[in-house]
Symmetry: C2
Amino acid sequence: MYFSAQKDFKEREIAPGVRLRLTWGERLMMSFVSLQPNSVVGNHRHPHEQMGTVLKGEVEMVIGGKARVVREGEAYLVPSNVEHSARSFDKPALALDIFSPPREDYK
Amino acid sequence: MYFSAQKDFKEREIAPGVRLRLTWGERLMMSFVSLQPNSVVGNHRHPHEQMGTVLKGEVEMVIGGKARVVREGEAYLVPSNVEHSARSFDKPALALDIFSPPREDYK
């Protein structure tokens, strides 16, 4: 399927207040990440390379021990197996994560 | 580098009125695509898998002969070597393309 709308995406809640909407191909996975205010994705790592951007609001990312508040139009890169975490502040936020290869645990 | 802002991205104009801002890792490339009104990215194909979404405005994508107007929050998938094109309408638009592997011709 070449085109998909939000109703077609797979949904998954990965932490309290953190909901994913997922779509993927053979090599790529897109994950729209909705964060309620003051939500946390705890420190973790995976072999998949991850990049992303913030679509609405602000998200603090900590990647390999480096913290940054990421805003709309900025980008982040999580190399394979580097520890990272994320949190929102007092407003909701929306980020887009992308993975290669797709995360089997999210399908 | 884990974090990047728009000033850090590589810029490239690929067609009249179509400007890319690029950032990439080992397996992933993100391309923020700014389209001026009535701009066209002609039919082409490449072995890289491509996905994407529209961040602002509307973009008509034709993928494998199927046309769709893609709007904010919707997604598209261009499998390896499938022909595709894109165009904007009478307003500017902003899309995010992602590629795996990164496109060497865009670095």
